[in-house]
């Protein structure tokens, strides 16, 4: 205790104040007060940022600088300005598509009637692409199938005569109602010349024979 504190000393007041606050239950250590205070702190305290403010600021400036640099590179920032010079006809334009060299006549010359003769009228070429007439290619001919034609041997005259006689006999039996005999006669006739081609040949042969007979009869007469 220094001199100043000694000057202010007052044991009676100390006693009086101690008596005033003696046995005050509110001043006793309360269980759980620390926990209550910590709960209040945790509930009210703002969540601490993972990064300080200046770090966010630095990131922001860095990102902005990078964006500006990238933009400058894209638009050619820092490149010397190019002068646009007319270098003649554009090689990409075809000669027939180029603008004809045409000058407006001098207005004074037009007024005085001393204008030079007009240049020949330029013929506008037909720029439309001409369709080339092309004959369509012929369709490929289908491959012919060379099937071997088997022509049955023509029946000889004897067989034809026999078959015809059998046929006539069958027809006669059919007309009389003897169907069984007619069937047998037709069957035998068929057996003699069994195929349709052979029957056709038989028919043709019969006709030819009939014609020959008729021709011979005519020649006889």
């Amino acid at each position: 205790m220094n001199t100043d504190e000694r000057e202010l000393r007052d044991p009676a007041l100390v006693t009086l104040l101690r008596e005033s606050y003696r046995d005050d239950p509110a001043l006793d250590p309360a269980p759980g007060r620390t926990e209550r205070i910590m709960r209040a702190v945790m509930a009210t305290a703002p969540r601490r940022q993972a990064h300080p403010f200046w770090a966010s600021l630095a990131w922001g400036f860095g990102a902005a600088a990078m964006a500006i640099l990238l933009l400058g590179l894209i638009i050619g920032f820092g490149r010397p300005g190019e002068k646009i010079v007319h270098r003649g006809p554009d090689p990409l334009i075809k000669p027939e598509q180029q603008k004809p060299d045409f000058k407006l006549p001098d207005i004074d010359q037009v007024a005085n009637g001393t204008q030079p003769p007009r240049p020949k009228q330029a013929v506008i070429p037909d720029l439309a692409p001409k369709p080339e007439e092309k004959e369509p290619e012929p369709w490929p001919a289908p491959a012919r199938q060379e099937e071997p034609v088997t022509v049955p041997p023509a029946p000889d005259q004897q067989e034809v005569v026999v078959a015809a006689a059998l046929y006539e006999a069958g027809a006669a039996a059919y007309s009389t109602g003897d169907y069984e005999s007619a069937y047998q006669a037709f069957q035998e006739s068929y057996d003699t010349v069994p195929t349709p081609d052979a029957a056709l040949s038989t028919g043709n042969a019969l006709i030819r024979m009939a014609r020959e007979e008729l021709a011979s009869a005519n020649s006889d007469t």
């Binding site: 202010l8 100390v14 009086l16 209550r36 702190v41």
Partner: protein
């Protein structure tokens, strides 16, 4: 717990260790709460004030210094917040002292008990009439017997200012108690005795 231990806990708390901060709360909560209670005379408000004080400490954790101790910073914050609360409360009726009627159980007779309770009531009422900073100075110096240096830290003034405030507050309290009780319960200080 030593001051070096407090420094280690503070360093850990500043690195984000909540257990270390809780240990600091555990270390100082009783003193902070008592200070708040003596200012406000209400346990619920005192606990709220203590919580608010530790919340401020958490928010300003990086700027806290363990030399000489964070308790002075805590008491100063609690004192300032308490003054603000008392100013707001000045428009409302004064809070009744808690539990005072049930105290003084060791007084023998009911008559003596009544006199003792009235005396305590008077002293507390007179203390409430002091300005908050004066009340803090008187209670810290005479009740808690803290040195003037600590009082100066808590009040945020110099040693001379703290001494002057203690002296002025004591004088005013003496006048108030004499007017109420009709007796001079204080001893003359060395300075007054000389005068």
């Amino acid at each position: 717990m030593s001051e070096s231990e407090e420094g280690r806990l503070l360093a850990r708390a500043q690195r984000g260790d909540m257990l270390a901060f809780e240990s600091l709360v555990q270390m100082h909560q009783q003193r902070v709460y008592s200070h708040c209670y003596r200012m406000l005379n209400n346990s619920a408000e005192a606990e709220d004030l203590a919580s608010e004080t530790f919340l401020r400490a958490f928010q300003h954790l990086s700027s806290l210094r363990a030399e000489p101790s964070i308790v002075f910073w805590l008491l100063r914050v609690a004192n300032n917040l308490g003054v603000s609360m008392l100013r707001k409360r000045s428009t409302r009726p004064e809070v009744e002292l808690e539990g005072l009627r049930e105290q003084a159980s060791d007084i023998a007779t009911p008559e003596e008990q009544t006199i003792e309770l009235a005396r305590r009531d008077t002293v507390r009422k007179c203390l409430r009439q002091l300005a908050p900073q004066d009340r803090t100075a008187v209670l810290m110096f005479y009740l808690e017997e803290r040195p003037l240096e600590e009082i100066a830290r808590v009040l945020g003034c110099g040693m001379a200012g703290a001494k002057s405030r203690v002296h002025r507050a004591r004088h005013k309290l003496r006048e108030l108690v004499m007017a109420d009780l009709g007796e001079d319960v204080f001893l003359p200080t060395a300075k007054e005795g000389e005068g």
